[in-house]
Subunit: 339 residues, 2 copies
Amino acid sequence: MSQLPQQPAEPPVPTSADVARLAGVSRATVSYVLNDTAAVRISDATRRRVRQAADDLGYVPHAAARSLRAGHTRTVLLPTVHIPAGPLYRRFHDEFQWTLRELGYTVVQYGSAGMDGDEAARAWAELRPVAVVSLSGTLTARGVAVLKRAGAKAVITLGSRPVPGAHTVVMDQREVGRRAAAHLLERGYRRIGVVLPGEPGLDLLSGPRLDGVRETVAGTGTPVVPLPLDPSEEAAARTAARCRRERLDAVFAYNDEYAMLLMRALQDAGTAVPGEVAVMGADDLFLGRLLRPRLSTVRIDMETGQRLAELVDRAVREPRSLPERQDLMAARTVPRDST
Amino acid sequence: MSQLPQQPAEPPVPTSADVARLAGVSRATVSYVLNDTAAVRISDATRRRVRQAADDLGYVPHAAARSLRAGHTRTVLLPTVHIPAGPLYRRFHDEFQWTLRELGYTVVQYGSAGMDGDEAARAWAELRPVAVVSLSGTLTARGVAVLKRAGAKAVITLGSRPVPGAHTVVMDQREVGRRAAAHLLERGYRRIGVVLPGEPGLDLLSGPRLDGVRETVAGTGTPVVPLPLDPSEEAAARTAARCRRERLDAVFAYNDEYAMLLMRALQDAGTAVPGEVAVMGADDLFLGRLLRPRLSTVRIDMETGQRLAELVDRAVREPRSLPERQDLMAARTVPRDST
């Protein structure tokens, strides 16, 4: 009698009206139960019936509809960054996200590869986030304004320059250079090279680290020689030769990986580490302990992701509070055998 | 006459009606222009006027409203994964995201730390994504069904087991073990250890790699000894002692970092590498070339992120196509001096 369809039709997406019909309640009741609205008193039996009906139908609330009704979302937008991130940063990031979720936010990471700052801000604004935490340093005052006009209650940027209208989180990389230089001075080194990695994006970190070294040696008569270095063995061999030519007695090698690269090149060329040239890294990677000599390094202790999450929450709840500036970084020396 | 407010009022969020009023056009025209609807003919002058008005007011379209009108979003949801990701994986991921954006999708990464599979699937479904690409291996058939009922046209999982209803992307880790074993057999080694890292999450990769080694040596009379190893120097010293006790002549050390750890422990104990025990890594990290002897390794060539993005797009446009299974990984040996 009935004609078989050529292919199975896709079932319609279930709506809250379907749930209401199955549970024998109003759509408003469905909405109250599934959005956990505490203000409305609904019996446990009804709550169970609604949840069961939603489960049977495979219904989940629509975040977009909810945010249109509420006039805002609970979305915290984290534009993804493309700096080469170490394990330390990832732990910080995990803890940050976890705490935001505990505080009731939806954390959305948003890939903005290939967009410039203002273009990215407009794309983020379309999602109507309640807060944006941008760690890339590309957000301008104009971008912040676009986000605020679109309802964002808090915009938080990472960087040494404050952006008007935004809270600023600082990780002052100069401190890493200061610690390295203080350690090298203390051990008696008096001609210091500082590696500047050639990888794109790292100059945001390496420039301030060099500044920190310069600040610390100021007045001691210690020359500081910037050493641009690409991540290749050939480049490292040239830099090792330059260390000898310039009679450097110590190098702060930007991080542990560049320290490992340079140390290998020095040793391959017959230069004793630390006897002729001391080498110091940063990050305290596990690998540093496996080198011979064991690598001296600067350990970077980031304030917990939890503190940043709490700053976000405070800024969302008090959107008119004055912009805060919080330094999330501290650094300390881990002396070993390479210096 | 008028009373000054205690504190400045927040300006209202501008709407498309405000833009329409300022530009002297209808709201529909604003929507057509700002959403780049090609089907509707609108003069360039009008388009410019609308864009200017939106700019002046700081208006951006509301993604939620647009997706409610359209009945679906262009959101591809990428739940974030917590496996320790190397640079290879990050490059793949960047290319994947970039291609999706070029294809007109909005890529949203979603942190689901602390949620189990089905709970996470419901949270993802609330965002009404058009596709979900889950690389974590926690999605069940039930979770896939929830997502599809919420309108997802494609669900793609990563893992060796296919999940009913989802397309499967495979990165067959056994291949890494097969390559390592074939290389060690070819070089004449006949008692092979295989490192199993103690870090949580890595068993998803190390188990199949061990299986690959076993497959390859089957029938050659070569014993294979699993070597659980925590990432510490003390544990590595014990494993180095065990290598000698069990008279192993070669170890496939899971990856380059564990290879470095074990090689250091062997050398510190006076064991010659590769003379007494050969050591092989995987990943072809840059660091491997800095070791002495230089580290032999298995290089993992992932198919480009572009291919995965194209699979997503195809799956979205043909939601009833049969589930595909695509292998994204190939591996090859990079022989150096440690084997």
